[in-house]
């Protein structure tokens, strides 16, 4: 058991499926998820010389609920499992929580993630649904604000495109595209099962008795140009939207390869990022206070890192009528960013992060989903939390030095004429 009362065990099932067991004694509920290493950033790519449209990982997520035994939502609900799925920049996750019938639920997860059952007709119908999802996201100002910032900061990486894909690509997606991606990234040795709950001792042997399709496919996968440099696409962008008060953000991209320079593991480097964002953006620090008192913004200021497997995007945002004043002030602050942190705030954030982790890591569903989110970007949740105590104040200052070296970009959303 670790400091959070959770036992962590990694095993490989007979089928080759990597499995992580998170034992949470005393809890009645369970949670299980399967992670596939394919997300919005997988494009651009070709498989067997076929160019794959953007949004493909998300499209596949929608349709994999069709299984050989019927609709997975239905099958899972019938055994009391509350299920869903989501796609991020780097991975796709299918999950459920339940209090009974966990193995039956996992069998459905196996069926849906290792078999492709749907037909061309269902692909066509799904396009209409996904286009509605795309429109919904386009109407969310906060979503547009961060996606516009990513579009500014990146030149090649598909993080600059919406995970859902663009309308043209959604419309040109075919069953063949989906099949090629499924066969390339959903092989049993590419998937990971994560399970949290009060698991019986013989749980692994029970998992080994479940049926899983272990067919291996071989396709020629060629990734497109994705070598980002420190160069950005543009340093400013304005988006016209019907919002009453402008939304403003400034961001800087930071490659996670920086961890090598810090001689840190991925988990340690992510611990450094989490403590740094807390130190800078807590309302007990100078940065937010100074913006407020110098009238840089008349609304709360938020900041932190947007994470994917290879980058951390440092971003600050606020809604305020006086966009130019806010951005000007931010640029000045970034020039002297180290002056906005202090050792006492740094020490306090360690207690804060510990308290929040104790609160969050209780219910098995939270444990499972938090662990999965970090696992999928090559970090370990508990290693990161443990590393918080060993991070030194000088590491924070060093990271701030690196942030200052980056090229900032600004994205503003406002109504025409505002």
């Amino acid at each position: 058991m670790n400091n959070y009362g959770i036992g962590v065990e990694e095993v490989k099932l007979k089928s080759g499926l990597k499995t992580i067991l998170l034992r949470t004694p005393g809890y009645k509920s369970n949670c299980a998820c399967i992670i596939a290493p394919v997300g919005g950033r997988i494009c651009p790519l070709t498989i067997d010389d076929v160019e794959i449209p953007t949004g493909i990982a998300h499209f596949l997520e929608h349709r994999l609920f069709d299984t050989i035994k019927g609709d997975a939502f239905q099958l899972l609900s019938e055994v009391g499992c509350d299920s869903n799925a989501y796609t991020t920049f780097d991975y796709t996750c299918y999950y459920f929580s339940c209090t009974k019938n966990m193995l039956k639920g996992i069998q459905v997860l196996f069926d849906m993630t290792t078999n492709l059952q749907f037909k061309e007709e269902q692909v066509e119908n799904e396009k209409k649904i996904i286009i509605q999802e795309m429109k919904m996201k386009y109407d969310e100002p906060n979503n547009r604000l961060s996606s516009g910032l990513l579009d500014n900061l990146f030149v090649f990486d598909n993080i600059k495109k919406d995970i859902v894909g663009d309308e043209k690509d959604i419309k040109r997606t075919t069953l063949n595209h989906l099949k090629l991606v499924f066969e390339s990234f959903y092989n049993v040795n590419q998937l990971t099962l994560i399970v949290a709950g009060d698991l019986p001792k013989n749980f692994v042997s029970k998992l080994n008795k479940l049926k899983i399709n272990d067919t291996q496919y071989n396709h020629k996968i060629v990734f497109g140009e994705r070598k980002e440099t420190s160069q950005i696409s543009r340093d400013y962008k304005h988006t016209n939207m019907d919002v009453p008060i402008p939304l403003n953000t400034l961001g800087i991209k930071i490659p996670l390869t920086l961890k090598d320079k810090f001689k840190m593991t991925n988990s340690e480097f992510l611990a450094l990022l989490s403590i740094t964002e807390n130190v800078l953006f807590t309302d007990s620090a100078r940065l937010c206070k100074e913006i407020r008192e110098n009238k840089g913004s008349d609304s709360p200021v938020y900041g932190g890192f947007i994470l994917c497997k290879d980058y951390a995007i440092f971003s600050i945002e606020s809604i305020t009528k006086n966009s130019s004043r806010f951005i000007k002030q931010l640029k000045e602050i970034i020039k002297n960013l180290e002056k906005y942190v202090s050792k006492d705030i740094f020490e306090r954030q360690k207690k804060h992060i510990l308290g929040m982790a104790i609160s969050t890591l209780t219910v098995p569903e939270n444990v499972c989903m938090e662990f999965a989110g970090e696992y999928a970007i090559s970090s370990n949740l508990f290693e990161r939390l443990n590393a918080i105590t060993s991070i030194k104040y000088k590491d924070v200052l060093k990271l701030i030095g690196e942030i200052k070296l980056g090229t900032p970009s600004v994205h503003i959303i406002s109504k025409k004429g505002n």
């Binding site: 939502f73 609900s77 119908n125 509605q132 919904m136 019907d242 008060i245």
Partner: protein, 407 residues
């Protein structure tokens, strides 16, 4: 001071945190609302012991990420004042005085009335900041749909009272108003709900030292919203997706057993196996999100979905047809019950969720007891569900039609 009958407590040794809610009521007077809103926000700008916003937040962080808030809600003809805090259990951070320190700090946060505490410049800043957030919220299509619908039914309904008052009233709040409303809050006696791991005797001793917990639990008599006119509203907005809200009213007598309506709503539109999801989204491909939910307070059924602007009529007609001819199978009922039991079990593992449900049950005069609830759910029959569905009364729709073309 604390009275036994003013205190509800659920304890489980697996919890790692304690969630406390102190609750009191005021009559619904509109002149209180803006003042309360501003008091709740400016309280974060300092107390005598922690005289700045930075020091208040620093203390929350020192107390291992203490989360605390004072907020109000409107419940029929009452304003409900809530003081809520969530703190990790002492033993998890090896600090046996943590719960006591938290109570002392929260008490000052709400009740400290030092005449130098609330400052004009912070009040003015908070007014602008809060008005910004209101303007954003009232610009959101789901909010506009709902607002238009209830105003069309009856502008004088308490559901149409904005809990912050009005923007004009917020602009007029003074420092004197803040102290006045704080005085009113100080004079109230509270009820208390606690879900957590802390020892019961310790809770009673500590909370009783800091708060006046002597009020009795009140049941609020919510009045079902009723209208004879059929509402049809379409407003345009510069967004890409069209939002539709459809509203139905439950039969007053059939709705009395809320477990039936809970199961019904789940079967109709609360999951990936529901009728609306299967028929409107999966079969017809009209939308990405579609959901139904019920308001116990007002006896209403809401259906909300986002569609293309050229599919408004098709969506509304399809949903009306579906509800007019709705019938469920035993298998659907079995699945809905199964999902309800899963949800009920998981509620007992999450102190914050458990507290929210305990409060909701108490305010509506329902007994929150796992066994009682389970038995009531088991008793829900196909006839109950079909009777409820057949007697739904259609009130109308409110649409925000998107006029923006995709870039």
């Amino acid at each position: 001071m604390i009275k036994k009958e003013s205190f509800k407590y659920i304890n489980d040794i697996k919890f790692r945190e304690n969630v406390v809610l102190l609750n009191a009521s005021l009559p619904l007077k509109k002149e209180y609302l803006a003042k309360l809103t501003m008091f709740e926000r400016i309280a974060f700008y300092g107390t005598t012991s922690f005289p700045t916003k930075e020091k208040i937040i620093a203390q929350q962080e020192n107390l291992y990420g203490l989360r605390m808030a004072i907020y109000h809600t409107i419940e029929q003809d009452l304003i409900n004042i809530n003081i809520q805090f969530l703190t990790v259990e002492d033993s998890y951070v090896n600090d046996s005085t943590l719960f006591e320190s938290v109570c002392s700090f929260v008490k000052d946060f709400v009740f400290d009335d030092n005449k130098k505490r609330f400052k004009e410049k912070f009040l003015e800043h908070e007014k602008v900041s809060y008005i910004n957030s209101i303007k954003n919220r009232i610009n959101e299509p789901p909010y506009i749909c709902r607002k238009n619908m209830f105003e069309a039914i009856d502008k004088n309904l308490s559901i149409n009272v904005e809990k912050y008052g009005s923007i004009k009233e917020i602009k007029n709040v003074t420092i004197k108003d803040i102290y006045d409303i704080q005085d009113i809050i100080k004079s109230l006696s509270f009820t208390c709900y606690l879900v957590g791991i802390v020892d019961k005797q310790k809770v009673i001793n500590v909370l009783g030292r800091y708060f006046n917990i002597t009020n009795s639990f009140n049941v609020i008599n919510y009045k079902q919203i009723s209208t004879d006119k059929e509402i049809s509203i379409i407003k345009e907005k510069d967004v890409e997706q069209t939002q539709i809200l459809m509203l139905y009213k439950f039969d007053k007598n059939l709705f009395k057993n809320e477990k039936i309506s809970l199961i019904f709503s789940n079967m109709l539109g609360e999951s990936g196996t529901s009728k609306l999801f299967k028929e409107i989204r999966e079969k017809r491909g009209l939308c990405y999100t579609i959901s139904s939910n019920i308001s116990f307070k007002y006896g209403l059924l809401y259906i909300m979905l986002g569609v293309n602007d050229d599919k408004i009529n098709e969506a509304i007609t399809s949903i009306k047809d579906l509800i007019n001819s709705i019938s469920f199978t035993q298998e659907e009922l079995k699945v809905a019950k199964q999902m309800f039991f899963t949800s009920l079990d998981t509620v007992y593992e999450d102190p914050s969720r458990l507290l929210r449900i305990l409060v909701s049950y108490t305010l509506t005069g329902r007994l929150f007891d796992e066994k009682v609830i389970s038995n009531e759910i088991k008793r829900v029959s196909m006839k109950n569900i079909n009777d409820l569905a057949k007697n739904l009364k259609y009130i109308g729709y409110s649409v925000v039609k998107g006029t923006k073309k995709h870039e």
